[in-house]
């Protein structure tokens, strides 16, 4: 198996499109998005479905990518994280078909 990176961004839903554009522009080959249902931060809880505007929902973007793509994306990601509610983490993973990422 081959070494790649796993990027995980938990971000507010209204900013999802922006995060996607950042990743796509950095040449990331793929990512998948998951809906969160609740959370806690800054001493406050939120819960999906208690806000008709859904503007406080959070989502998680997972992308398996090459370290080079992370480096390309990192500046724009930092800018994005500075403006919007978001948490980013990066981990090492092994994959089967390295050319896909």
């Amino acid at each position: 198996m081959h070494q790649k990176k796993r990027l995980e961004i938990i971000i507010e839903k209204p900013a999802l499109k922006r995060a996607c554009r950042v990743l796509e522009e950095a040449g990331v080959k793929g990512y998948t998005v998951f809906p969160a249902m609740a959370g806690y931060g800054s001493n406050m809880r939120w819960q999906r479905g208690t806000d008709l505007s859904a503007s406080r929902d959070m989502v998680m973007i997972i992308s398996i990518l090459d370290n080079s793509a992370v480096k390309t994306a990192i500046d724009d990601l930092e800018n994005l994280m500075g403006a919007h509610i978001a948490v980013l983490s990066l981990a090492d993973v092994e994959v089967l078909r390295p050319e896909k990422f």
């Binding site: 209204p14 406050m44 503007s55 724009d76």
Partner: protein, 327 residues
């Protein structure tokens, strides 16, 4: 008579279901109306309102009177935020950006409050015009622009947020679900007229009030949870703003309606629109345009304070104001 009006409003099933939801949430019940179901009901309600308004509009010509009301509606939405902003900055400790975002909510409108007012007027036997739905649609958006101007004026233009795209805010604001469905249904009602509606009106007219009960149960749950989670973010100045601002808007709009000589029903609706605050379209736009503003502040105020106030005490009061200038 006025006590009657208050009582019949507060003891109507839709308000009682709202209170049920509010109470359950404040007592920390875990019950929820599934999000997807509630959002589906919201689309139904907006379609029904739009269609009804459109069919009514298809029966009457567009007069200069109507254009005048439309102008008034636009101005109310545009200028409302300025008043709200000044009030917030003087009476509460809110930051500039939070005050601007909140102000945008109060310039815009709440379509559910509008519907509840329509129901109360119907119950009281007061006639309203179909084109008032169009006024509601017109008032949704302008306030957002004023809020952005208030937040950004004087600041040197900061760099764009990474990944933002030209037109994204425009689409969020002008093509959000409530604008699309409301304006679309209005147009469809207007195009097909009474004849086209025949077949579909059973679905959009008969169950309407019942669906509203179900929806308001959910609104009560939302408002209660919003209050429970958010009231700590608000000082007394901010909290009282949630009641005072609607009253001021109502007073000003009463004067304008009096100046334009509006009918009792239409005046009551325009006052209600001005006094109501958005909690769907505007919050979503604010997260894109002013991400630094804190959602817990404006959502708690508009959904947790102003909406319950309008639904219970506000609407009968606005109707009385309209009767007073119309009588």
């Amino acid at each position: 008579m006025s006590v009657d009006l208050v009582l019949s409003t507060i003891l109507s099933p839709i308000v009682l279901f709202f209170v049920l939801g509010l109470g359950a949430a404040l007592l920390r019940s875990q019950m929820t109306v599934p999000e997807a179901f509630a959002k589906g009901l919201a689309i139904y309600l907006m379609m029904a309102i739009g269609l009804k308004g459109g069919v009514e509009m298809s029966k009457t010509a567009l007069t200069s009177d109507i254009l005048l009301i439309a102008l008034a509606a636009l101005l109310l939405s545009f200028l409302g935020p300025f008043l709200a902003y000044m009030l917030l900055r003087t009476t509460s400790k809110m930051s500039r950006i939070d005050a601007a975002a909140t102000a945008g909510h109060y310039g815009s409108i709440s379509i559910v409050t509008f519907v509840a007012a329509t129901q109360a007027l119907e119950l009281a036997g007061v006639i309203t015009s179909g084109y008032m739905v169009a006024m509601a649609a017109l008032m949704e958006v302008p306030a957002i622009m004023s809020a952005l101007w208030l937040a950004n004026r004087g600041l040197q233009k900061s760099g764009e947020v990474a990944g933002s795209e030209k037109g994204e805010l425009f689409r969020e604001v002008f093509l959000n679900a409530s604008v699309v469905v409301l304006v679309g249904a209005l147009a469809i009602g207007w195009i097909t007229g009474e004849r086209g509606m025949e077949k579909i009106s059973p679905f959009f007219v008969i169950p309407f009030q019942g669906v509203l009960c179900l929806f308001l149960l959910d609104m009560g749950l939302n408002a209660g949870r919003g209050l429970r989670q958010g009231w700590r973010q608000l000082d007394l100045g901010a909290l009282s703003f949630g009641v005072v601002m609607p009253l001021i808007s109502a007073a000003i709009t009463t004067l304008i309606c009096w100046g334009m000589g509006l009918s009792v029903g239409d005046a009551a609706l325009l006052i209600t629109l001005a006094a109501s605050a958005s909690y769907i379209a505007v919050p979503a736009a604010m997260r894109l345009a002013l991400p630094k503003a804190q959602p817990s502040i404006y959502l708690t105020l508009s959904l947790g304070v102003t909406f319950p106030f309008n639904l219970t005490l506000g609407i009968p009061l606005y109707i009385m104001l309209a009767q007073w200038i119309g009588g």
